[in-house]
Subunit: 319 residues, 2 copies
């Protein structure tokens, strides 16, 4: 949850009036997104989302994210559509922050992942990969293998405070992953953060994908690996292979996975778990006491990493 920046009501009214979306009648700060301030606003023409970008999102990246969402929405992906103001601008400024208004999506994020969510999730992910195949902009994945050595260097000195031996374990893991990381898999723009809180459902129907602010260029199968981590572990930390089978099965209904992609899946899942372990370690060590946002538990991802380390082949994921 996060509303970092308060917006003056008069400034907001004037801001909304510069769009052709009706007159502002309400604005509520919402507990959504940890990187930005989000307001659910109502105008005489219905609900919209106003996002103010706090410093964790680089302003230079905003055109990539906005064009990506516009590209996807135009190809039938249920994602937020950035709204242009009367001058055609998408990225504006309010309360001293870069800001955009996007369309409002119906649906709710599942608090608990049910089996029924997994096939639609896999299908939506594959549709996204297909939809972005002709997207021309690109953005480097700063949180993939090339960026991990720096993250490990930052996390290692205090990692043992989280769990004894963790510092050495992440150093060894880094060496292993750097050596084995694939180089020639199908690549393109990936969402890179498709956790349950970024996916809306209406009943069993997937109604929206949100939060494209980690989207970047990487292996498409790495996005599948991120989802395996985010959707297929139970709260008791056990891996639900049926969920994985449904997720990957849904994906393959829309986009084929090549043999090298399938072979690489355990390694990619291990790498994905490593990436979230490292960033959670960072947040754990850098979140000031008393911050609005509670840091997520790094150990959850250490356990997931160890599970994938134990996996012999993609058969463990029900493939």
């Amino acid at each position: 949850m996060a509303v970092y920046t308060e917006v003056d009501d008069e400034e907001l009214e004037a801001f909304v009036a510069s769009y052709d979306i009706g007159t502002l009648v309400s604005a509520k700060g919402i507990a959504e997104g940890v990187e930005n301030s989000n307001y659910l606003i109502h105008t005489t023409r219905g609900p919209w989302i106003l996002t103010l970008y706090e410093k964790r999102v680089a302003k230079a990246d905003l055109p990539f994210f906005m064009n990506l969402m516009e590209h996807c929405a135009a190809r039938g992906i249920d994602c937020p559509l950035p709204i242009h103001d009367r001058d055609g601008q998408v990225i504006r400024e309010i309360a001293g922050r870069p800001a955009v208004i996007v369309s409002f999506l119906q649906g709710m994020s599942p608090r608990r992942v049910a089996l029924e969510h997994c096939a639609p999730l896999g299908m939506a992910l594959a549709k996204l990969h297909v939809a972005v195949s002709d997207f021309t902009m690109s953005r480097e994945n700063a949180l993939s293998v090339e960026g991990w050595r720096k993250l490990v260097a930052g996390a290692r000195p205090r990692a043992d405070e989280v769990q004894p031996g963790l510092g050495d374990e992440i150093a060894r893991e880094l060496d292993f992953l750097e050596l084995r990381w694939p180089k020639h898999l199908a690549a393109g723009v990936i969402h890179a953060d498709l956790f349950p809180n970024n996916v809306f459902f209406l009943g069993d129907r997937l109604s929206g994908l949100i939060d494209f602010y980690f989207a970047c260029n990487d292996f498409l199968a790495y996005d599948v690996a991120i989802c395996l981590n985010a959707w297929c572990f139970e709260s008791d930390r056990s891996f639900n292979a049926t969920k994985a089978m449904r997720l990957v099965g849904g994906y393959r209904q829309i986009r084929a996975l090549s043999a090298p992609e399938i072979d690489a899946l355990p390694l990619l899942a291990r790498g994905a778990a490593f990436r979230f372990l490292l960033t959670r370690l960072y947040d754990w060590q850098h979140t000031p006491t008393g911050a609005l946002v509670k840091p997520l538990d790094p150990i959850e991802y250490l356990r997931k990493l160890r599970f994938h380390r134990s996996v012999e082949s993609a058969a463990a994921y029900g493939i």
Copy 2:
């Protein structure tokens, strides 16, 4: 801001289905209200507010608050209307908390009080007092003069940590107020917490009053005194007598203030400032480090108290 209780999406769908308000399509935790968890929900029939009551609101008081809002809404006051479920119930339970759904009100709380807000605010307050004149339930004001001695006893030992000498000052103030507090002014149900964040405007038009969870029986003029404190001081702590004149003038357009009420205003305003000073001191001393809600500054109300102490008569408020 506050969303204390997370609600499971399936439980929420079933909950909403027990009302005749359409099918749930969205739910966002909103940063509104510090005592409760609030969700802005959308159904196929539009937006609604779902409130879950956390422990600071006594469950036994909920029927009073709900009936009061229903009573006021029926008399044309723009306030949330509690919705009855298919069995006629208003107070329900979700996620282990007492919960109600109320109508959604358009409008935004002013972040800065403008002169133009004050007459409509005064008029709305007076309309509220008129509307509740035939309301038959009652609720004691635990935060009025009878409750202050207990609050002072709790706050005094550590009050000097906030400002040297404050402990003695509040003890002397208590003695003074207990001795002089009026006994025979017009009384009825008051809102008792009509701060700008509890009042919605659309432009200069007042569109809603919310947060009735401090409503209680007390002198009607005490409600005016609370508003003088909450609406008429500038951010530099100066008192804006023009705002006070507008506020009281708006009030008197709808309900006459008697001579004893006018005479009592400086004392009532002093008492109202004292009440918020004491509760802020309490929150200041009892909010754990790292809590989601930042305690409000008690000193702001000490300065307001001192201003009212210096006032000779209601003429200082432009009356």
